[in-house]
Symmetry: C2
Subunit: 397 residues, 2 copies
């Protein structure tokens, strides 16, 4: 069961708070890197205090904090900064998401740290440019990256994607770039770690499809299209008899013909209103009306079954409860039990993706604040007992 992990042997310092930088570090950790989270003494990561709570304990922290050790270090003091610089001598990567300039002000910027470190810097707006110093959070990245304007129904206000998407997306992009920089350092043998600049808005902008090209060449300013795509049909979410929603994506000729079979309406394939994708797009309302009527008469499970039987791409809008009950996710182990040191076993999403078909080992539970102080400051960095006790007494750690 315990597969070898591709990033074993690397050490990552998570200076992040909230989601984006910690998520980046966590991905590396789930692939074998050792991750040490460096937190403010007494207070720790913001995520420790945000709901939902189980008996006062943050379940969101339990997820985002998993798979790492915790040490405390007051980076606002010269003594803490000196300690951190000593710790950095033992690391390969530092991931952070303070406002640009903060690390430099604390004398722990890239120039103050070993040249071989990869320093992965996530921020709302990036390390340079006129908005560099602006505050920003996930939502700001989604808005200014251009996705908010595209999400929602045409006649209604924009809607956010239902999770802190720019935080996570930036975290994954940053993790990829981090490993690329490590590859260069250790394989090309430059020995030099890169400084990575990953703004929240930029990750969103990068996945904006043809939005920029369409504006440049056609003067198009994309708007919201709800669940439709203006160039494809049938393609929508449909309400079923039990009130659940099913997404059906059957735009291609082949998928459309399969959907007609699923609906027991083979006549529609020959219907000239729907003969080509262009025809179907031109007559989307009529076509979707028929699919909607079909779905409305059946339970979601039944719509799904008939589509699957006919090879039509289909997916129910899964809830947390559907995820818990799904036979495929269960068979693949997509929910994993993480043993939290405070709350005990908690079902969470498993590490992703998977190497060589093996289930990755479950991450260790989110650490209590400073749980690894002794192991890291004494055993790894080499503080003697007197130094360690003094640092504790002074509130440096």
């Amino acid at each position: 069961m315990s597969a070898p992990q591709p990033l074993a042997g690397l050490r990552v310092l998570d200076l992040g708070t909230r989601i984006s930088a910690p998520f980046c570090a966590g991905i590396l950790g789930e692939q074998g890197a050792e991750v040490i989270k460096v937190e403010d003494p007494g207070r720790g990561d913001f995520m420790r205090g945000i709901g939902p709570f189980d008996d006062g304990y943050s379940l969101w922290w339990a997820v985002e904090g998993r798979g790492r050790q915790s040490v405390t270090c007051n980076l606002r003091t010269p003594a803490g900064q000196a300690l951190f610089r000593r710790l950095a001598e033992h690391a390969d990567v530092v991931v952070e998401n303070f406002r640009p300039g903060t690390l430099e002000r604390w004398n722990i910027g890239p120039d103050d740290l070993p040249d071989r470190l990869v320093v992965t810097r996530i921020s709302a707006f990036g390390q340079d440019g006129p908005y560099r110093d602006r505050p920003g959070l996930d939502r700001v990245g989604i808005a200014m990256g251009g996705l908010l304007h595209l999400t929602g129904e045409p006649e209604r206000p924009p809607v956010r994607p239902g999770v802190t998407l720019s935080d996570y997306l930036t975290g994954v992009f940053a993790a990829e770039a981090t490993v690329a920089a490590l590859y260069e350092r250790d394989v090309a043998g430059t020995g030099h770690g890169r400084v990575i600049d990953a703004p929240l808005y930029g990750s969103i902008l990068r996945i904006l499809e043809w939005t920029i090209a369409g504006h440049d060449r056609l003067g198009l300013v994309r708007g919201r299209h709800g669940n439709r795509i203006p160039t494809s049909a049938p393609m929508d979410n449909f309400a079923c008899a039990d009130g659940e929603y099913v997404a059906i994506a059957a735009g291609s000729d082949m998928n459309f013909s399969r959907l007609c079979d699923a609906m027991q309406r083979p006549d529609l394939v020959a219907d000239e209103r729907f003969a080509t994708l262009d025809d179907r797009v031109a007559n989307t309302d009529e076509l979707h009306g028929m699919v909607a009527e079909w779905c409305a008469a059946l339970e979601a499970d039944e719509v799904e079954r008939r589509c699957v039987d006919n090879n039509v791409p289909v997916g129910r809008a899964y809830t947390a409860s559907d995820i818990a009950d799904d036979e495929h996710m269960t068979a693949r182990g997509d929910r994993v039990i993480v043993d939290d040191p405070v709350a005990g076993p908690i079902a969470q999403q498993a590490p992703y993706p998977r190497f060589d078909g093996r289930r990755p080992p479950p991450p260790r539970g989110a650490p209590e604040l400073g749980a690894d102080n002794a192991a890291v400051w004494r055993d790894l960095v080499g503080l003697d007992r007197a130094e360690f006790d003094a640092a504790l007494a002074a509130g440096t750690i």
Copy 2:
């Protein structure tokens, strides 16, 4: 200007179609890897035929196809399969998103290819499990990964995020895992390439915040909350006098107090209805009503300016036009001109993220179908003129 690239020297074969696998390969390409796209002779990638079109040329293809070479190879024939196996001898990575089992049926599965290759496999449902053989597209991943149900207004049907999110997100996760596998191969020195299994639904599931933990421990089945977060306020999008929307995220005590300054309502800080985050959450409707009223009386630019002046996280819901005009994005070069071989210069999103503060070189434009056949099949793989001409004549390439 032309910075060294961290993945220079690696060669990636893009066997993908549509978005997810090509995007994965493209990320590696934008960091220096050479990417060779292998396409069906005569037809090529689906993206070449999807709108929006500029004078018949797909602008979406121009974006997703950039940064790579194109060769043709009919993988449905033994001759094409044999050619592909020869090409694979020269590669480090194969990225694909056919249905599971397809490569094996074509005798080009991981067991048929050199052991040192990293084979990155994207699919709707993964390489094993009961739904393995089901068809699926982006929307299905968003639905069954659990994000669709969470996105939209509480009293209305779910809404898709406005781009093909599970395609892109899976592509980035897969790129990260690919580089991790290369790191292990070349640094740990195993010499062995991993097979990566990245299903679309799994990338969405991975970023589902506390959804699974909350269901497990509290029995919570999360629903849709529109633009609000049930544990934070003020946090929403607000309509301005000019009809534009502004996202304001000011949940913390400090940000709330700054927002009160921006609104010239310092009295609200002392208002007991809004004293703590819990109070603000309990009185969200009242609080948001006041912020909405303030925004409704001002143009979006002015709301943004006042928030920025007071250090409040704020972002307008940018359109393609806003992105084109934005001074920060312009200063940072987030729009890059890609020289397309068919359509000429097209503004697109720049490679992301950035290394050492340098602007990455603009990717080469999306190749015409088979544009690099001679360079790859003759010069790299070593077909002689007779073999090459015969392969062309037979439709193998």
